[in-house]
Symmetry: C2
Subunit: 210 residues, 2 copies
């Protein structure tokens, strides 16, 4: 589940603040039932056909810079080894069909679960983002446009404009992934933030058919 690992890196600090570190995220072990090829991982986690809404698609709120870079990376998916990751409303959609390790069970209630980065439904008001992933280079790029509902300390957030987040896997040690992220303006003249963190990968298996 390489994709989820990267996606998580982008929001690293928030989780670390409230819910502990290092990160324990369900991540597909390469030696698991899905095999080790990138292709099989990609087809598992980036389904080409699905009824689920993909929130990582352009909408009317995206600023020209964001649209522009989106198109640029979309072109790169054709030839340069980049993959555009889909973004569904809930993690439950992303991990559908996978059995979680005990202790990480997903509640079975009928709540309208949403991954917190998709919690604000009005376009442009909250988290607008799309992630492109480059498996062989172990890096990803997140185009992120924060909206006015993400207010923090005055002046720190480039609300309504683009932040480009570069995420790299620094090293892998057994189950541990060391990742870093730098958030910058498109022209790289402004650094909004840097962060790094350790993620633990857990082995996931396909659920047995009922």
């Amino acid at each position: 589940m390489i994709r989820r690992g990267f996606q998580a890196a982008v929001r690293l600090g928030q989780h670390r603040a409230l819910f502990g570190g290092p990160q324990v995220l369900p991540r597909l072990n390469l030696t698991s039932a899905f095999g080790s090829s990138t292709d099989s991982l990609v087809s598992r986690f980036c389904p080409e056909k699905t009824d689920l809404k993909d929130y990582a698609l352009p909408n009317a709120s995206w600023c020209p810079d964001m649209l522009d870079l989106y198109q640029e990376f979309l072109e790169k998916t054709k030839t340069d080894g980049w993959i555009k990751l889909p973004s569904f409303k809930s993690n439950r959609d992303h991990i559908q069909g996978l059995k979680l390790p005990s202790g990480l069970a997903v509640a079975s209630d009928k709540s309208d679960w949403r991954i917190f980065t998709r919690c604000i439904q009005v376009e442009g008001q909250g988290y607008e983002y799309v992630i492109f992933f480059h498996p062989s280079e172990k890096k990803s790029i997140c185009l992120f446009q924060p909206g006015p509902y993400l207010e923090g300390a005055p002046g720190l957030i480039p609300v309504g404009s683009l932040a480009v987040l570069n995420v790299h896997v620094e090293k892998i040690e057994d189950q541990k992934l060391y990742m870093s992220c730098i958030a910058q303006s498109r022209d790289q003249q402004t650094v909004y933030a840097k962060c790094s963190g350790i993620f633990l990968q857990l082995q996931l298996e396909e659920e047995s058919p009922q």
Copy 2:
């Protein structure tokens, strides 16, 4: 602006992840125009009468544990030196009438700005929290009940139940505040997370009358 410092500690990691560290938050310098007494700070930042909606009040979504502890701390505000902090929709409401240092100017557009912890409007779906502050002991308590729109990695967040966040000022060095936070279950048997961070206080002055 002691209150804001504490409030910020609660969401420390999120800011650190995307928008740099240490934290640069406008915080009232005790030697500023407002004087140094706790009373004057409290009356400035915890107005007893205001037209602004206070989101840190019980609603139908609060679980019994949250309501119970809320009442317990509310009682303590009468005799034990605790103060219940109000929570308005936007930081702009909290810093009304204060001049920000240059570089931290607040955009003057008419957007519907919301502090990110008040971005989800449906009761119980997002961040339900209230903060009590004890000035002389330099600590605060945040009662936090995350909702299903704050989904992260499966199993890590006690959605719908209470997390108690204890925030302490570890030390103060000139402008620097060293703060730490531990998030636990009410019975303290489960530690959800620990974090610490450094906040910088900036001197704020009252805006000159127009």
